[in-house]
């Protein structure tokens, strides 16, 4: 069978087509949309969402879910700002501490899910409350950051033609996508993630270290969410405990639109980046329009998500009927 048009690739292909089509249509409708500047800003503006989505992809590929990522963004944002402003910690160390915290939360959640076979939905729902609570406990007011090194990071960018540029955040996003892709495609860990999503029992009998791999997935998600918080803080130059509220839902939408099945086993990291782009394009187009209020973004995303769900179901049933006909020519 044509692996290029397989169950795995087809959704990604379709998402790319939709993304390009939307970009072109918006380009026709709005002046100055079809520029490199808009294109690259897509990554700069959505870097935090993209980074969170990459981490979440690993969890969803195993058939799990991580609802705590939005709160984690808020928690890491306020933690970082307080560490730098009030505790006078050097920014690199502060970032390290925040990432370690994300790692710890991911580790705890992963351990509970893998060891005691608790439901990911509920464990990470608890994590959602916990992280938001910790964030608000640290500070309810937003905390401005004024630190020369931090400002340098925030304003760093690579100039590109046509007055466009790539920010530090966008570069981080690309780095994370690259690492995520590497882990999922070229490390045995990645194959194990997919195998667990395909059939956990079989994976166990095939000798896949199921628990370790599951914990690894939640750790990655935790670290990515914390990093997403750092990037968000760079973007706003301040820490805020309520930032990232509901972000987990955007991230899930991006991952699903990017072709990953919520059931696990099928999907990819680059797909999730694509999903984030689709969300970003919708948002940018609506901002460009000016007459539409911002909740139109939600409506469009809702419709898109439904469309993709129907599409995935259709692809799946096509694959199923093909399977029934699969010629069993051995020998």
């Amino acid at each position: 069978m044509n692996r290029f048009l397989s169950q795995e690739r087809l959704p990604v292909l379709i998402t790319s087509v939709v993304a390009i089509a939307m970009f072109l249509i918006a380009g026709f409708k709005y002046d100055n949309f079809l520029t490199l500047r808009v294109f690259f800003n897509l990554f700069s503006d959505n870097a935090f969402l993209g980074i969170v989505a990459v981490g979440l992809t690993f969890v969803i590929l195993t058939g799990g879910i991580d609802l705590s990522v939005g709160s984690m963004v808020g928690c890491s944002s306020i933690m970082l700002a307080t560490l730098i402003r009030d505790s006078q910690v050097a920014p690199p160390l502060a970032v390290g501490i925040v990432l370690a915290f994300g790692c710890l939360i991911g580790l705890t959640q992963g351990f509970l899910i893998a060891r005691f076979e608790l439901q990911p939905f509920l464990v990470t729902l608890a994590g959602l409350f916990l992280c938001r609570g910790i964030a608000l406990r640290i500070s309810q007011q937003s905390v401005q950051i004024d630190h020369p090194l931090f400002d340098q990071w925030a304003s760093f960018s690579i100039a590109l033609p046509q007055k466009s540029s790539l920010s530090f955040a966008a570069l981080l996003l690309f780095l994370v996508v690259g690492i995520g892709w590497y882990l999922s495609r070229l490390r045995p860990f990645g194959r194990a993630i997919y195998a667990i999503g395909g059939n956990r029992q079989s994976a166990e009998l095939m000798g896949v270290p199921v628990r370790k791999t599951l914990i690894g997935a939640y750790v990655i998600s935790g670290i990515c969410a914390a990093l997403g918080g750092v990037v968000f803080t760079l973007y706003t130059q301040s820490g805020n405990a309520v930032s990232g509220t509901g972000l987990e839902l955007d991230a899930i939408a991006a991952v699903v639109i990017g072709g990953t099945l919520l059931r696990g086993g099928y999907g990819s990291v680059p797909g999730s980046l694509l999903g984030v782009c689709v969300l970003g394009i919708v948002q940018t187009a609506i901002t460009f329009d000016g007459t539409l209020s911002s909740w139109w973004t939600k409506i469009v995303i809702g419709v898109l998500l439904l469309g993709f769900l129907l599409l995935q179901r259709w692809i799946e049933s096509a694959a199923l009927s093909r399977r029934a006909l699969a010629p069993s020519g051995t020998n």
């Binding site: 070229l186 045995p188 195998a195 079989s202 095939m206 086993g265 694959a319 009927s321 051995t330």
Partner: protein, 500 residues
């Protein structure tokens, strides 16, 4: 080889599950250069012994020694490092990964950049060659047939350096050529000094390949025998714990068909790309056997008749009216399908045996007419005793039944709604010899009550034994129909193999 220390030595292996004493102090020895058949009825404890030996389950007692060294593997991976490679019962692969990925999963060759996909490809090629499977290594395992999956699982087990190879019913979906190829491989491995444990319910295969036989019954070791010194009839008696002659009692003398008018007729029926040119009719009290090679369209025929797939050509008449069935309407009109792939499409894991057995009965009613627990119990108990399901406790999770007993529970599910036509796709696969005869006798008994069946089996002798007529499929077409009077193995094989 050293006679004193066997390659693998199990002593007093004990295993209890809640409510079941699955292994009662099993001793077992495997020599190098030996193929050792592990036999026993469904639920005897064969798979459990293998799972204890390979670290899936922890033993409650006993010791495992390999080459005189005591080991205690905690998971299948550790077992591999001790030199024990295993193919478990039921295919255990990741359906969402490719053939190549499945073969190398967990032990991917690497280079500086990570997984070396080139090397994966090469290793896959040689692994597939070893079992004689020609399939695109890039195809997803979920997209290939069960037989191919079984071969992939075997190829995976052969991909590591092992001293002990364990195969738990590896041949249940393979056709003759594939079995022959596998056996050639096993013989070669035996010559290379490997010890092989082989579980099967096909006694012919046992006599063809094994050197010794160990029989388990109810978790106890009955004995170990030299294969060539153990007559088949004695072997069966050891397995079932009573004399083997008792099995034949249900043999069919006459074969009168009660119905006169067919209630189901297919004419030139089929689906493009699936199976075509189906022409036959079914009367009440008739068993239609479907014979043909693997991939000849047997399962596809069952799917069409049950309305999972929809015909695109020809006619399908039920009760003299053209019918367009869906599985749901099929059930309400008295047609049932017992599927081939019980693990993926049959059982509801996590539900009890009882719940699994009444699920179709519940579908037949409206959802608000719940079948009370007492009623469920009664129905389930009736078929548990009719099918001699072990253990007879219907509150247990169906996943914990042995493979063959799961199959019996699924049959019970259909029998509980008394369909007038039941499509049986490989109903005897993975079932022990005693239960096979029971199922065939059951088919005959129900047939005499006026029920009809479509009976699909890779074992020709079974098809011939139960069928009123045999429809032969070749290359996804029904090519001929053989009446019961003319049916014998040669005639059917000739029809299957004939070239025009």
């Amino acid at each position: 080889m050293s006679e004193s220390t066997p390659l693998l030595h199990l002593q007093g292996i004990d295993k209890r599950f809640p409510g079941v004493h699955a292994l009662k102090g099993i001793d077992f020895e495997l020599e190098t250069e030996e193929i050792h058949a592990l036999l026993g009825e469904n639920g005897a404890g064969k798979s459990t012994l293998i799972k204890v030996l390979t670290g899936v389950h922890a033993a409650d007692g006993g010791s495992i020694c390999i080459e005189g060294r005591q080991i205690a593997p905690r998971n299948p991976n550790e077992a591999v490092t001790f030199g024990i490679s295993t193919v478990y019962q039921e295919v255990n692969l990741a359906p969402n990964l490719s053939v190549a990925e499945n073969i190398c999963l967990g032990r991917e060759p690497r280079n500086v950049f990570g997984i070396d996909w080139r090397a994966v490809g090469e290793r896959t090629k040689s692994a597939l060659n070893r079992v004689g499977l020609r399939v695109d290594p890039q195809r997803l395992v979920g997209d290939i047939s069960i037989a191919e999956q079984q071969l992939v699982a075997i190829a995976r087990a052969l991909d590591v350096e092992a001293k002990v190879l364990i195969l738990d019913e590896p041949t249940s979906s393979l056709d003759q050529d594939e079995v022959a190829q596998l056996f050639a491989t096993l013989r070669r491995l035996r010559e290379e000094g490997m010890g092989i444990i082989f579980v099967t319910h096909f006694l012919d295969q046992v006599y063809e390949i094994s050197d010794r036989i160990t029989v388990l019954r109810n978790g106890e070791r009955i004995g170990t025998f030299q294969t060539d010194e153990l007559p088949r009839i004695e072997l069966v008696s050891h397995m079932i714990g009573r004399s083997a002659e008792s099995l034949e009692h249900g043999a069919m003398a006459s074969h009168e068909v009660s119905g006169h008018e067919p209630f189901l007729t297919v004419t030139n029926f089929g689906k493009r790309g699936s199976v075509q040119d189906l022409n036959f009719e079914i009367r009440s009290g008739e068993v239609i056997g479907l014979a043909g090679l693997l991939g000849s369209g047997r399962t596809e025929t069952a799917r069409l008749l049950f309305g999972i797939d929809h015909g695109t050509e020809g006619g399908y008449q039920l009760d003299n009216r053209s019918a367009h069935l869906t599985p749901r309407s099929a059930i309400s009109r008295g047609v049932g399908l017992n599927v081939e792939d019980r693990k993926a499409e049959g059982i509801f894991p996590g539900l009890s045996i009882r719940e699994n057995m009444v699920v179709v009965a519940q579908v037949k009613r409206r959802w608000w007419q719940r079948i009370s627990t007492a009623e469920q119990k009664q129905v389930a108990d009736e078929y548990v005793s009719a099918l001699q399901l072990q253990p007879p406790n219907t509150d247990r999770n169906i996943e914990n039944l042995s493979g063959g007993n799961q199959q019996k529970a699924l049959l019970g599910r259909w029998l509980a709604v008394e369909p007038r036509l039941l499509l049986l796709d490989e109903p005897t696969r993975g079932i022990d010899i005693g239960a096979k005869f029971e199922i065939m006798a059951l088919v005959e008994r129900l047939r005499l009550e006026g029920k009809s069946f479509v009976f699909i089996s890779s074992e020709l002798s079974e098809v011939i034994r139960v069928s009123s007529r045999i429809v032969v499929l070749r290359d996804r077409r029904a090519v001929t129909t053989i009446s019961r009077a003319e049916a014998n193995e040669e005639a059917v094989v000739a029809a299957i193999a004939k070239h025009e």
